[in-house]
């Protein structure tokens, strides 16, 4: 029965291949088809989530019926089940948003690419084989390049070009890292790599892991590999930006954390953690200070998103279970908040034609619901109590305290202060300033309003009663942190070991 979870991969794939045929039937059907498929995906992801969390056991999918490490296996544990659900829900919301937000032709290609983006992220999060991870990373990255350039403006092409160059370099780094691991261990299966990691020569392990960290750093938007991100976020179609922030970057971060913890037995592990903590800190600092200077709100949110990613990386780099839990909690919260904010800002751009600070003056009177959604998101991101991000920031601080890293605490508090400056400025602009142009109130779209209110409700529910989510998150973090259990869960073929 559990092998049917492979439909999570098969469905988006077969649907993407089906789009050219749908287009031949009727062009108008393409976008509703996208919504339908993401809805089915969401249903399946809910089923898988429920299955994993009630039985407490991961679903192991063995492609071709070959047992790992001979064949490729998918490992849908507590973490993957949670994030596959988040990916599916975010994709579903953005598919609905796309029906109005995507006006540039060819829409059939857009539908294919966004299905494949969802597929790639799902695969990255659920795979149990490091080369398969690379393949899914390529799927995610290449659809992301194409989607970035989708609007076909000069800006978009430039952003996509930057992304392709950096992404290509990142992929090559990642591949070299895999080659070093395969060369010294003779296996690609992640559970077996974890089992044998201790045998690796520390110099080789250090080089391989550094390569993998830098390779994934492009997708995970870590400084100095994130130069593409603000441009891409700004130039990409609005639903795509929301998807980038909600799950594409998360898939990269997850892969980073997974590989890091699987190889915790290698001799030079501490060096890699230190590298990651430096990269994460720089990401936060540079992201926040760049956000402060932006006049384009979408770009400002992009920088804010990047600095949140830095927090998550720092949390993973603490090397403790508390740190991993806090990071995953922050990932969940950030996915909700940024999906909301990028959707709202995209909707503003759609209605008003621009997203500069000037356009946002007096937004509270023109689009009150959207302005309200942005306000809630902004307050949450700053880390005000009774909103969801507050709890993950607190957990991060507690984890840093336990790990004895007072620098990280200062970083989080300082960054929150900077966030408060630019977000409160934005809130003030929306509600208390008059726009220079005369504008009448816009009738806001009912469906988009409902989605935004749903996300707002989630933010507040998690903010008021964080315990349920925290329990789920802790299980997900045990999935990453408890490597011995991970190895035990994968039914490795006996006899194929040194």
């Amino acid at each position: 029965m559990s092998q049917y979870a492979s439909l999570l991969i098969a469905l988006p794939l077969i649907s993407a291949f089906f789009v050219p045929i749908i287009k031949a039937i009727g062009k108008k059907v393409v976008m509703p088809f996208l919504v339908l498929i993401t809805a089915i995906q969401m249903g399946m992801a809910t089923w898988v989530f429920n299955e994993v969390y009630t039985t407490g056991k991961p679903i192991i999918i063995m492609a071709g019926g070959f047992r790992p490490p001979v064949g490729i296996n998918l490992y849908i544990g507590h973490f993957a089940a949670l994030f596959v659900l988040i990916i599916a829900v975010a994709s579903f919301f953005m598919a609905i948003f796309s029906m109005k937000a995507i006006t540039v032709e060819p829409k059939d290609k857009y539908a294919m690419l966004s299905l494949l983006l969802m597929l790639g992220a799902t695969g990255m999060i659920s795979t149990g084989d490091i080369f398969n991870l690379f393949v899914f990373m390529e799927i995610t990255a290449i659809s992301a390049y194409a989607l970035t350039a989708y609007n076909k403006s000069g800006e978009a092409s430039e952003a996509a070009m930057k992304y392709i160059v950096l992404g290509g370099i990142g992929s090559s780094f990642f591949l070299v890292g895999i080659a070093l691991i395969y060369g010294s261990l003779g296996t690609l299966n992640m559970a077996q790599i974890a089992q044998l990691a201790g045998q690796m020569n520390p110099t080789v392990a250090q080089a391989a892991l550094a390569m993998l960290v830098f390779g994934l750093g492009v997708e995970a938007e870590l400084f100095p590999l994130n130069a593409w991100a603000p441009d891409a976020y700004q130039a990409a179609p609005h639903p795509v930006t929301a998807m980038f922030s909600a799950f594409v970057v998360k898939a990269g971060l997850y892969a980073l954390a997974r590989i890091l913890y699987l190889t915790h037995a290698v001799g030079s592990w501490g060096h890699i953690l230190r590298l990651l903590i430096i990269l994460g800190t720089l990401t936060v600092v540079i992201g926040e200070f760049s956000a402060l200077r932006q006049t384009n709100v979408k770009r400002m949110f992009a920088y804010s998103s990047i600095s949140q990613v830095g927090f998550i990386a720092v949390g993973f780099a603490l090397g403790t279970q508390a740190g991993v839990s806090a990071s995953i909690f922050h990932m969940v919260n950030h996915a909700i908040v940024k999906a909301l904010m990028f959707m709202a800002v995209g909707y503003v751009a759609l209605e008003l034609g621009g997203v500069t600070l000037e356009d946002f003056k007096g937004l509270g009177k023109v689009m009150p619901l959207t302005a309200f959604a942005i306000t809630v998101g902004a307050i949450s991101i700053i880390g005000i109590p009774l909103f969801n991000v507050f709890w993950s920031k607190i957990q991060l601080i507690l984890a840093a305290m336990k790990a004895g890293k007072s620098g990280v605490i200062a970083l989080i508090l300082g960054a929150s202060l900077v966030e408060a400056v630019y977000y409160i400025r934005l809130i003030h602009l929306m509600w208390f300033e008059e726009g220079s142009r005369e504008r009448t109130r816009i009738k806001e779209n009912f469906v988009f309003g409902t989605i935004m209110l749903l996300l707002v409700a989630l933010i507040i529910i998690i903010g008021v009663a964080p315990n349920m989510t925290w329990n789920i998150v802790q299980k997900a973090s045990a999935d990453i942190y408890n490597v011995a259990q991970y190895i035990k869960n994968v039914p490795l073929l006996p006899g194929v070991s040194p």
Partner: protein, 235 residues
């Protein structure tokens, strides 16, 4: 400027030294055949392929291959999306020389035949769906070079490409239904066809089926990319 360059060279040297010292410690070429040895020992019994590489590509690591097929699909979709114009036409001014046009007419069928041969015999000889499909696409590329007005039947190529992709996933799903594993080789392992035929054309389970699908898909896809890149859009 000189400082910057010197700094860059210095950094490169340090990273290069570090990489070299890591590479020196990897036992490349030594007997580290963990999974690979298993493949060599079991390939015939488990997949029926004489070409072990093919068996690894399509059977053992078939999931990766499905992913690679998807990557190529995204590449062609992406190119088509970015070069999209309402009306696109060919702008070549001169016809190819007599040698080229005659050669293209004569060779077209043979090149396609050779491409088909490569992917149909993927389980027996080196090659497979990807090189076979690429060979077929070169036949179409040659037509583009030779004739200034030539165009592939765009619509039907797109539909064929989609159908081939769906076919691959469908083969995997049939495996899920029959053998209860996605991409399970039901032709070889459940039906047991071709067991007495190892080393001949009708053997190796679903490998020839999948390679034919991949061959068609890659052929139409690369031809589509050529088409997108050759044509120019008028506003």
């Amino acid at each position: 400027m000189v400082m910057k360059r010197a700094l860059a060279i210095l950094t490169l040297l340090i990273i290069g030294y570090w990489m070299a010292s890591a590479l020196a410690n990897v036992p490349f070429g030594a007997d580290k055949m963990l999974v690979a040895q298993y493949y060599l020992n079991h390939v015939k019994a488990q997949t029926g392929a004489v070409n072990a590489v093919t068996a690894v590509v399509v059977n053992y690591r078939g999931f990766d291959t499905l992913g690679e097929v998807t990557v190529l699909f995204i590449a062609s979709t992406g190119v088509a999306a970015l070069l999209w114009r309402k009306k696109r036409e060919r702008t070549a001014e001169t016809e190819g020389s007599i040698v080229l046009t005659t050669g293209a007419r004569l060779l077209f069928a043979f090149i396609v035949l050779f491409g088909a041969y490569i992917f149909i015999h993927g389980h027996l000889t080196p090659g497979g769906g990807f090189p076979g499909g690429a060979t077929i696409a070169t036949a179409f590329l040659m037509l583009y070079l030779a004739f200034s007005a030539y165009e592939i039947p765009h619509r039907s190529f797109e539909v064929t490409e989609g159908l081939a992709g769906m076919g691959y996933v469908a083969v995997g799903l049939i495996g899920l239904a029959i053998g209860s594993y996605f991409l399970f080789d039901w032709i070889w392992q459940t039906w047991g066809w071709g067991h007495s035929n190892i080393g001949r054309l009708f053997s190796a389970g679903f490998i020839p089926v999948i390679y034919t699908i991949i061959g068609i898909k890659v052929g139409t896809e690369l031809s589509g990319i050529v088409d997108s890149m050759v044509k120019e859009g008028g506003e």
